[in-house]
């Protein structure tokens, strides 16, 4: 009885794993953890902003932005405006022409396809996290 049960569990596990793999294959899109910022961008005639986590974490640990600079760790929770950035807040802490390129290079950040919804992208997520 016990071995039958364990067989069922194993096959169920394998089926789940396989379907997840298949899903992962189909869903390849963007780079894992890219964030689209489009609360204001397109409304003001600019392309949406694509923020690549991969690029930044090679250069900075998570805590630099998420602890010292005060970015909340939840897509949509940070009300990032261009005025604040130019004022030296949020992205403007580094993107000031000293640490990283300044705000005059609009298109390097405002680089997204028109019509993108704000949020975080990943390629092999499970069904969640639903709140992103």
């Amino acid at each position: 009885m016990k071995s039958v049960l364990s067989e069922i569990i194993t096959s169920k596990l394998l089926i789940t794993l396989t379907s997840l793999l298949l899903l992962a294959n189909i869903n390849v899109q963007a780079e894992y953890a890219d964030v689209v910022l489009n609360k204001y961008a397109e409304a003001h005639g600019m392309r949406p902003v694509i923020y690549p986590h991969w690029f930044h974490r090679i250069r900075f640990r998570c805590k630099v932005c998420h602890s010292e600079l005060g970015f909340e760790m939840r897509a949509g929770a940070n009300d990032v405006t261009m005025a604040d950035i130019i004022d030296g807040k949020f992205c403007g802490m580094c993107h000031n022409g000293e640490i990283a390129w300044s705000t005059e290079y609009c298109d390097r950040c405002h680089s997204g396809l028109p019509g993108l919804k704000p949020g975080i992208r990943g390629d092999s997520e499970t069904s969640g996290p639903g709140r992103w």
Partner: protein, 193 residues
């Protein structure tokens, strides 16, 4: 029945690895369905493959073992912006007991605090007390607790065994914080204050 499923899975996994291939691991920015190929500045941006192919590989997420990349010196990301910021790294494992039929969860503070500060999680996401957090997979899958990062910016929730990594039958110690000695306990508890 079991054999058939096993071999089908194996075949799919293998084909997945071959199909994914090194050249398809990271999409070009112009083809990632996110960047606008019509943007003239797209050629000024670094391509993911250029940066990520030099780092320790993974088969999920963005195909990089970030903890290893940092630990083995492949990357040297800055630890702080302000010179006065205290760099806090804690080496303390937490063994979580209530994991149903899955293996016990070993949470390594070290791998996490090499990237994050205490205050990223404490007390906003996790109370700093063993058993004080009703962590469960339903909440995690909804983006709470560990799901705040895992599945979004850190390895996805399909990797069950990376967290459920300790066999219940083999664990003989006490659940909770795995202090090495009394001194370690004092150090750990003063760090976050």
């Amino acid at each position: 029945m079991r054999k058939t499923i096993f071999f089908t899975s194996l075949l799919l996994i293998l084909s997945h690895t071959i199909y994914a291939g090194p050249q398809q691991k990271w999409k070009n920015l112009a083809e990632d369905e996110l960047h606008d190929p019509a943007n003239p500045a797209i050629i000024e941006l670094q391509q993911p493959a250029e940066a990520l192919s030099a780092l320790p590989g993974d088969y999920i997420g963005n195909k990089v073992r970030w903890v290893n990349a940092l630990r083995h010196g492949y990357i040297e990301p800055r630890t702080n912006f302000f010179p006065e910021t205290k760099i806090r790294v804690l080496d303390l494992d937490i063994i979580m007991e209530r994991t149903g039929e899955m293996g016990l969860v070993k949470f390594p503070h070290k791998a996490h605090t090499e990237w994050l500060d205490c205050n990223n999680c404490h007390d906003k996401i996790f109370k700093m007390k063993v058993d004080a957090n009703p962590i469960n997979m339903f909440a995690i899958l909804q983006g709470e607790y560990c799901g705040r990062c895992h599945g979004a910016v850190a390895f996805p929730l399909t990797e069950c065994l990376r967290c459920h990594s300790v066999a219940r039958s083999k664990f003989k110690g006490k659940f909770g914080a795995q202090y090495k000695d009394a001194q370690h306990k004092i150090q750990a508890n003063t760090l976050a204050k």
